[in-house]
Symmetry: C2
Subunit: 371 residues, 2 copies
């Protein structure tokens, strides 16, 4: 009896996970983290109105969610000044990125991103047999000129850029991104990941043009809205690009509870302002903690601060390992020279107290280890 | 400027939806349904313990769900007497079916199912370029012999069968399915969809053999557990087949709230017994209502009853349209001769009262229309 065989593409893929979850690390360590500062979750929580809406919806969870996410899609369209046909709601940006790659990237098709940018996007490109081309960061910023040049060179189907960027927290002004859009090579779609845009300074997001056929923007309720666990992301694009998702998406995939929560979160603009303030204060505090120990915090337009540890990747990895051992969940960039840094999410005061306490110990241990 | 081009496969796919949701129908009609009996949701709701767990988790939704669904997977493994490595949790059976097809079905690969069986499975097969071969139902049952014969003939990668079956409510005894497993052609994987198994008589599910490399079973919290809107399904299979999902799945796709709800639902065996009783009573009542109007209810091992309307598909479609117009959401099989039936989900007493009241009017209208 021959076993069922995977497709050649599936057979070629490793069983992998772009990120190990903090729970898995906790199980390995046999204890829980004191501070959960590694996944850029919003420790300030969802809007109380969103929590209430989700609690109400929990009792109605016997009903499938609306496969059109109609109410949420209409509310988002109104919020952004576009039509509902310009919005696709999905199970987080991760799921939408997967579908987008599936729609546009066939075996051997070229895709361009920055070396060290979002691993989950790369995972999807590999998963559909695409060929990934990378360009380096430039001064800890993604490099629009290099991305455009590479995409032109390799006739890329997609370019990925996050603005603001993860894992560096850096950002470009709207004009820089718009200039990038204006120079896209023919047949190339720009995937503009704006997961952190709600936390960025005004002037970071270019105006949304619902008729632009060559750009799709990704937004999420996971970051500023504090609903990472609810899995609600959305794409904004031309009606034609958006309608493509209807060819391949899991129509009944959206959790009913999450749809209700996102709708309430969108309407609670007061909570969003509150979170922005909390995040700004936490960024300052993380920066101050870093500086107090001779480290260099990078400017951030996100809900995390990337801290230059002042040495190489081995040193930063040692700091990270020591922090984790001290019960502080943090992550770091994967690729040099950005891997000289660790990345710390904005947390509550108590969480940042724990970080402040653990950091000098971790630095001492890292110095000791690499002496 | 050339627009970005979809892959040839994606370009060839229609933008479609396997099922139109009741909310979309309500928006079209401009009013809500009186009775929601069309999607085999459990009107008896989730376990109160599951609701409480989801309400608690709503406040913790700022954290991503555990990408390994560790606690739920371990609980499910213990429940089924297998190892956690034999379980994959996903965003409903629909999502798992999509991933499974992606893993095994390449362009032109043969897949076998019954004509009129689950459209979402067919949607996934088309979506990955597979070639679908169908065999007819036999006496309103899926036909294991015909499925095996066809799979052997076309060298199928996958066979899909639901036991109990949707949309007919029929079922095979465990021995029949086991005999089917024993005769699978070489290289063929049996996708055994057991979404309704919790509502079937003892002796419907063959014993789970975690070492069997040629069968994968699909289970869900959407039906008996009343959590369709939470999107929690799982697959049971050999460690090797299950690990395949780790090559392509959306690791952080599971809603944290839903994971907690499913865990609590699994533990509340009392609620499951209660739902089984409610479903049995509702099946009897739907049958009695059908018979009172000269229709023939088919035996059911599910939370719905398929009712033979005694004429052809046009008549049943007219009955269905009239029921919908009367505010009763029901669905029906798509393919003759099964499309002589309508399919009514087990509802609360009030919902079935509404159905009982609407049915004679709908029958009269259908007779009038087709006279």
């Amino acid at each position: 009896m021959t076993k069922p065989a995977l497709t050649p593409l599936a057979e070629s893929l490793p069983a992998s996970v772009p990120f190990v979850g903090p729970e898995a690390q906790e199980r390995q360590m046999g204890r829980t983290f004191t501070a959960r500062l590694g996944a850029n979750e919003s420790a300030f929580g969802p809007s109380p109105k969103a929590i209430a809406a989700m609690q109400k919806a929990a009792g109605e969870a016997w009903m499938y969610g609306d496969p059109e996410s109609n109410d949420l899609r209409h509310a988002l369209a109104a919020h952004h000044g576009v039509q509902p046909e310009n919005i696709m709601v999905g199970e987080g940006i991760d799921a939408l990125l997967g579908l987008l790659v599936r729609l546009y990237v066939g075996a051997g098709d070229a895709v361009v991103t920055s070396a060290g940018a979002y691993p989950t996007f790369n995972y999807h490109v590999a998963g559909f047999g695409g060929r990934l081309h990378t360009v380096p960061y430039n001064g800890d910023h993604e490099d629009p000129d290099a991305l455009i040049a590479k995409a032109t060179e390799v006739s890329a189907k997609l370019i990925y850029i996050a603005n603001p960027d993860n894992p560096m927290g850096s950002w470009h002004r709207a004009e820089v991104i718009q200039h990038m859009i204006d120079r896209l090579p023919s047949g190339c779609l720009l995937v503009l990941d704006e997961a952190y845009i709600d936390l960025a300074p005004d002037g970071t997001a270019p105006a949304i043009d619902p008729d632009a056929a060559n750009v799709i923007r990704m937004r999420t309720f996971s970051k500023a809205h504090g609903m990472a666990g609810a899995r609600v992301g959305y794409a904004i694009g031309s009606a034609e690009v958006i309608n493509g998702f209807n060819k391949v998406r899991n129509h009944f995939g959206m959790c009913r509870i999450s749809q209700e929560g996102a709708l309430a979160a969108l309407q609670d603009t007061g909570w969003l302002s509150h979170v922005r303030q909390e995040v700004a204060q936490a960024r300052d505090r993380i920066g101050a903690i870093a500086q107090a120990h001779g480290l260099h915090p990078l400017p951030s337009a996100t809900n995390f601060v990337t801290i230059d540890c002042g040495h190489d990747g081995d040193f930063a990895r040692a700091v990270l390992a020591a922090l984790v051992a001290e019960g502080i969940f943090v992550r770091m960039p994967f690729v040099p020279p950005q891997d000289r840094c660790i990345r710390v999410s904005c947390g509550t005061e108590a969480q940042l107290d724990a970080f402040a306490q653990a950091l000098p110990k971790a630095l001492a241990q890292a110095h000791e280890k690499l002496r």
